[in-house]
């Protein structure tokens, strides 16, 4: 019996070692390196098919999440078949290490970090590569900040914003409107009446012109509740259950480290949150002239689709499109992964 337990114990360890083994070759790339910039050491993971020299760079959400979260699920698995997909942990998040002060963390510095990651990928894989930026949620705000600096290299061929938070003050206003509008529609249809009434009455108490830091966080929580109600009632497609591949990716994120690191760098950093909560790029979107694709979940309460339409109309390019995912919330890559992959592939094939 004891021998069996020991065999199982060491088998699991051996399995873990195999999971960590790298296959290298442009068709099945598994690359991992760190980028050091301004006191932060950020891990970069590149997986997939780099034979066409097209790199899709995920700018993760949060702040407080990590890059590898976006590797879970069918969407990334399918994207990796055709493209090299880059996941990186932003400073103070996931497994990124370093030493810097809380007050040094700004959106501008993090946009410079992103620039450092892009320059390193170009240095490693050559000047002839094409890079597409995919910013989700907070990553949409960071990606927009980066593009507005207008110092990106010519290798950056396109901008894909996925439910991106490029105007947080507007999010809070639109979110309250959306809860009231969708809530009333659902109540009239007889769906989860009590839950919607509770949400609407909470929202009605807010002074939407003066939403403070704490109320902003509460609103974000209510938005998640609203989306969950719609998942339960079948209006939003529930994400697939985690596969063994997802669990190994989850394990490699080292969540304990990520939670503590994120807590000190962001959650407990009121100055940085205040910057996020008050930052609005809507009036500067006309300075973006890169081919752009905006992907939004129809039922995204966290970042309502109004922001997607704003961006679509305001960016200064004719090479733009907006796709609304009818059965999705804040994570269309998990709610409707096949449509998500197809939409991105179509855009990349045109602009690569």
């Amino acid at each position: 019996m004891k021998i069996n337990k020991i065999v199982i114990f060491f088998s699991v360890i051996t399995l873990n070692l195999f999971i960590g083994c790298n296959k290298n070759g442009l068709n099945s790339l598994n690359d991992h390196f760190y980028v050091r910039h301004a006191g932060a050491d950020m891990p970069v993971y590149i997986h997939g098919n780099a034979s066409e020299k097209v790199f899709l760079l995920f700018i993760h959400g949060g702040p407080g999440d990590n890059g590898l979260q976006y590797r879970e699920g069918i969407a990334s698995k399918n994207l990796e078949k055709d493209y090299a997909v880059v996941y990186y942990d932003q400073r103070g998040q996931g497994l990124s290490e370093g030493k810097f002060e809380q007050q040094d963390v700004t959106i501008s510095l993090m946009a410079d970090d992103l620039h450092a990651v892009i320059l390193t990928i170009i240095k490693k894989y050559g000047n002839d590569i094409s890079i597409f930026l995919l910013g989700h949620s907070w990553g949409g705000e960071l990606g927009t900040a980066y593009l507005l600096k207008n110092n990106y290299p010519p290798n950056v061929k396109g901008w894909i914003e996925i439910d991106g938070a490029h105007d947080v003050p507007k999010i809070n206003v639109e979110l309250t409107k959306m809860i009231i509008k969708v809530g009333n529609q659902q109540i009239n249809s007889g769906n989860s009446k009590d839950k919607w009434q509770e949400l609407i009455s909470w929202v009605n108490k807010l002074d939407t012109a003066n939403i403070n830091f704490e109320q902003g966080r509460d609103l974000n929580r209510k938005a998640r509740i609203a989306e969950q109600i719609l998942i339960n009632d079948g209006f939003v497609t529930a994400p697939d259950k985690k596969t063994f591949r997802d669990l190994t990716i989850l394990y490699n994120q080292n969540i304990i480290t990520g939670i503590f690191s994120g807590y000190y760098t962001y959650v407990n950093n009121e100055g940085f949150y205040a910057e996020i909560e008050t930052t609005s790029y809507t009036n500067q979107l006309h300075n973006i002239s890169l081919p752009s694709l905006f992907l939004w979940g129809k039922y995204d309460f966290i970042v309502p689709a109004t922001l997607g339409y704003d961006a679509y109309y305001l960016v200064n390019t004719q090479q733009k499109d907006i796709i609304i995912f009818e059965q999705s919330g804040h994570m269309p890559m998990k709610n409707q992964p096949y449509k998500f992959v197809k939409t991105i592939s179509n855009f990349v094939e045109i602009h690569k």
């Binding site: 050091r36 103070g92 990124s96 810097f100």
Partner: protein, 206 residues
Amino acid sequence: MKKILFTTVVILFFVKLVYSQQTDTLSFLQTRTFTFSYFGNNLLNPGLKSSINFTLSEETIKKTKTRKNNKIIDKSYNNKWILSGNIGFFWHPQSHVAVFNYYLISMQKLKLKSNRITLFGIGPGIYRSFYPETYTVNKAGTVDKIILGGRMYFAPVFSFGSGKEINNYFFTERIFTTNLMFLFDYNTGIVPLLNLELAFTFDFKR
């Protein structure tokens, strides 16, 4: 690999044989015990650790307890204060390798009847991560590759363990330890690492 393992076991056997026959004076090796551990960071990131342990003080306390049915139970125990130096490494397969060195003052209690051991230790340490491949980007946007990229942290450790004294020819104790290591300053704060150890102690004087 098999050759290395076989050679290690043979060397340990002869070293032990030699030292167990020197009874006149206690040598350096005989006054210390050595511990070899499997070190699992966050449960499964595999690693190894070795320690050298020096007993600072030791006392045996005789104690009995009489039950209601007049049965006498032996509650005697042995208390040891141990100073240990520890060095080891672990490998996060998708990320980095870490090397650490820490010193523990531990209190170890051995129940003489059941041979059960419990211990608690605390002490300072250092930790160094090594990244697989690292590039640095300066303000001008120049990218350079650096060797041995990584970070060093002050890493105090808290250790809680339980195990058993065993009468194996090589090993005297088998202890399962939960080890909490705190890394300062990790980004802007502190990060704890939860490590599990399966340790075997080797005593040259037995």
